[in-house]
Each structure stands twice: as C-alpha cells, then as structure tokens.
Symmetry: C2
Subunit: 229 residues, 2 copies
DNA sequence: TTTTGACTTTTGGTATACAATATGCCATAT
DNA sequence: ATATGGCATATTGTATACCAAAAGTCAAAA
C-alpha cells in the first residue's frame, strides 16, 4: 500500500513550476498522511535531505509549512515530530469538519448543477459497488471524492481551503479506522440519505444529515482510538 | 496609529524561546494586519533582512509561514506580495467566519461559565462606552475581544485555530472599514441581541444571530470595497 | 513607437560554518 | 546493579557566500 491515493494531484507538466519547498511539503505530507511515517516519529533534517536529495533550506521551509497545517509539531531546538492528536482532539476536529460540511451542503443545494449531482450520484453507486465487493480502499477513496465534490459544489474557496486542511489532518486516522472497522460500510445508509437530500436540494435537511454523518464517523473511529495510546 | 493592537501577544519572558523565524512572522503579520504594508506591495527579502537585522534563512521561513496563512502570495521567482483579496473573496471569508462563529455560539451556550458571561457582558458595556465616546479604535478592539471570548468559550482548539487564521486575513479590512463607515456603530444593536441570547443560553438563537451578524458586517464593508480596486 | 537585447536585480537553491542546545554514553559513586 | 554527573557527539538555529535562472530595466535600433 505504498500509494494509497494521490492527495496532492499535480500535473506532471506543472511540477517543475512548483517551488522545491512545495514539492517537498507535498511529498512529506503524502508520506505522513499515508502513514509511511508514524505519529511521534522524529524527522531528522539531514536524513530527509539525503533521502530526497535536497538541501536543508527548502526542506526547512517545507517543515514550516507542514507545521502550520498541524501535521507535524516543531519543537524548538529539537526538530519536527509527526503530530499524534489525542482522541479528544480528533473528536474536536471531526465536529468542526461536520460544521464545515454542513455549510457546504447548505450552499451546494443552491449552486450545484444537475451535472454535478449526476456525477456525485455516479460516485455514490461506484462506492456501493466497492462496498459490495469488499474493496475497502476503493470504498474509502470514493467516499473522500464524494465529500470533496460536495465541498466544491459550495463554490467557496475559503471553505475548500479550511476543509482540505482539516481533512489532511484526519486522513490517516480515518483511513486506518476504515481498514480496521468491522462495520466499515456503516456510512452507506447515511450516504443514501445525503444523496436524497441533495437531489431534492433540501438545504436544511442535507446540512443536518452531514453534520450527523461526521458525528457517527467519530463514533466509529473512537472504537479504534484507545488501542493506539 | 503605529500600534493598533497586540495581535500576537507574546510574554516578554518567553519571546526568547521563540524561533527567530516565528518572531519575524509575528512581526510581519502585525505589520500586514495593521496596514503598515499595503496590499499589492512587494516584499523584498534583503530589504526586510536589513530592516529587521536578520539573515535570509529565517526570513524566508517566515514568509512561507505567512503564505500558508494566505496573508501573502508567494509568486515563483518573483517573491512575496501582500495579498489583496477581492470583494468576492472577502464576502466568502466572512460567510465562512459567520459559520464558525455560529458554531462557536452554539457550543458556548453549553460550556460557558457564568464568570465568562459576566466578563463578556463587561466587555460589551465597555464597547458601548467607547461607542458613546466616539472612540472607534477602542470600539473595534473591544468588538474583537468579545468575539474572541465567545470563540474561546466554545472550548474547541480546532475552531479557535481556524477562526484566528480567518480573522487575521480579514483584520485589516475590517479595521479600515470600521474607520471609514458612517454608521460604524451599527453592530451595537446586534450585540445587544447576542448578549441576550448568550445569557439565556439559547444556542439556536445565538447561532442564528451570529451568522446574521457577520452577514451584516459584509454589508457594511462592501460599501468601502469598490473604491479600493 | 515598438522591439530587441544586453545589463542589473532578485529570487531559488546549495553548501558551509558556527554557536547553542539536546542527546547519548561512560565513568564514578552509592 | 543502579543512579548521577559530566563529557563527547549529534542536531538544530542562524548567518553567509555563491551561483543559476527568472524577472525587471533601460537604452539603442528598426
């Protein structure tokens, strides 16, 4: 599972246009998110420098970027460690994520096009297919894509930015939970309701469902939190 | 008006514990927020280096930090410019800020203590006093403090972080608007309602008022946007 | 007036140096 | 054997010099 999903899609043509520090940040972010570096792990600058064949300056800039995304903690004179949020912090993040998604749903009902609804519906059915096949990875990825599509339909760059930040912090945890959880398909039913509300463009209803959806996400995740600490 | 307000309070005892790059970021952030550098202005590295008596390395780290907060735009091979959000972007940010504050109000009703309510009430009356005296600066600062106190009462670090980020991006604009606006006290009446809802701990009501409050903030600001572009 | 092209400035990135701090290890004392 | 203190080493924080590439500038030529 070296490559779970391309979280920071970058067209190969444009990759050269990105700052080196951005590229490093993207690469490290993917590594953290995909659990290739475990929470609590310390990042040694020179080690990564050698591994990625870059000098310290852009690496350090990348570390600062990741720190501002709360993916790592920068401890003075002691370097960077992969941040490991507590259960309470995860619950807190999910609550706020729920609020953001609820707002997204509300706005999306006004601005989403029929084509976009059709596309989300298609993703929804693909997700059901993945569930039916027991393909957890595909299920997870499609779930993410559906939520991202909803956020984008809200037509708010600010919302999109805050959401993707928070989502990045939660990604690894949610992915791990999705792998472990017995009733991993629990979201299927809720997603049915989401689709229905979206098709009816019932803003109030969709909003409510989405917030509740993230709450039940927490209930699933929380079962797998204890063991980790 | 060189010193509007200490946005990044740092106990003098601890300032030495902060990275130089953090200190620089804080300093530049205050300068941007307080309009000592105008939107669109280009930041020349060596210029600031000389001004702040630091080397390029920590300065560049600081610039990356500010860029990740969307206070500046980092243009490849062209350096940093103070970001100047369009009217649409400002409206968008205020909408999301409204959602965050609405959520804060909701949670605060559950978790706020009587002491905190009393303190906010005190700030509220101080704000009325400032308004009565025509002291716009004081009015603005107290307004900010009231909203910050509300956010903190929600007991969510995630919410606090997102809010302060968004608030930093909007600070300069709101401050300018507060200076210019004819009916600059328009928020007084809404604040009365906020206080009432808070004292009743009516989460649903407070939430609704706060969201509406930020909407009317936009209506005030929007009058002063045209001239700038 | 516009375009071309050389010159200058600025940024992006690398390498290196050095001080301050943290870490780890070993010898000593209990 | 374990705990403590202190030294050696490793790592981070900062400064500086250097170079290549891109952007900006400006004057001369068409």
């Amino acid at each position: 599972m070296s490559q779970i999903v391309e979280l920071t899609p970058k067209e190969n043509s444009d990759i050269n246009r990105l700052n080196l520090s951005e590229q490093i940040a993207n690469r490290l972010r993917d590594m953290i998110i995909q659990n290739q570096m475990s929470p609590g792990d310390r990042i040694r600058e020179r080690e990564i420098c050698k591994e990625l064949q870059v000098s310290r300056t852009p690496l350090r800039e990348a570390l600062h970027k990741l720190a501002s995304e709360c993916l790592i903690d920068l401890i003075p004179n002691c370097g960077a460690v992969i941040s490991s949020p507590s259960g309470d912090e995860i619950a807190d993040m999910l609550r706020v994520l729920g609020v953001l998604e609820a707002f997204a749903g509300e706005r999306a009902c006004e601005s989403i096009t029929e084509e976009e609804i059709a596309e989300i519906k298609a993703l929804h059915y693909e997700m059901l297919a993945a569930f039916s096949r027991g393909d957890r990875l595909q299920y997870f990825k499609l779930n993410q894509r559906i939520h991202l599509a909803l956020i984008k339909a809200a037509r708010s760059e600010t919302l999109l930015a805050l959401h993707s930040r928070l989502n990045a912090r939660l990604y690894r945890i949610r992915y791990q939970s999705n792998l472990k959880n017995e009733q991993w398909g629990g979201a299927v039913e809720e997603h049915d309701n989401i689709m229905a509300a979206l098709e009816e463009r019932d803003a109030e209803k969709l909003s409510r469902i989405l917030r509740r959806h993230l709450k039940s996400t927490w209930e699933k995740i929380s079962e797998h939190i204890e063991e980790k600490k």
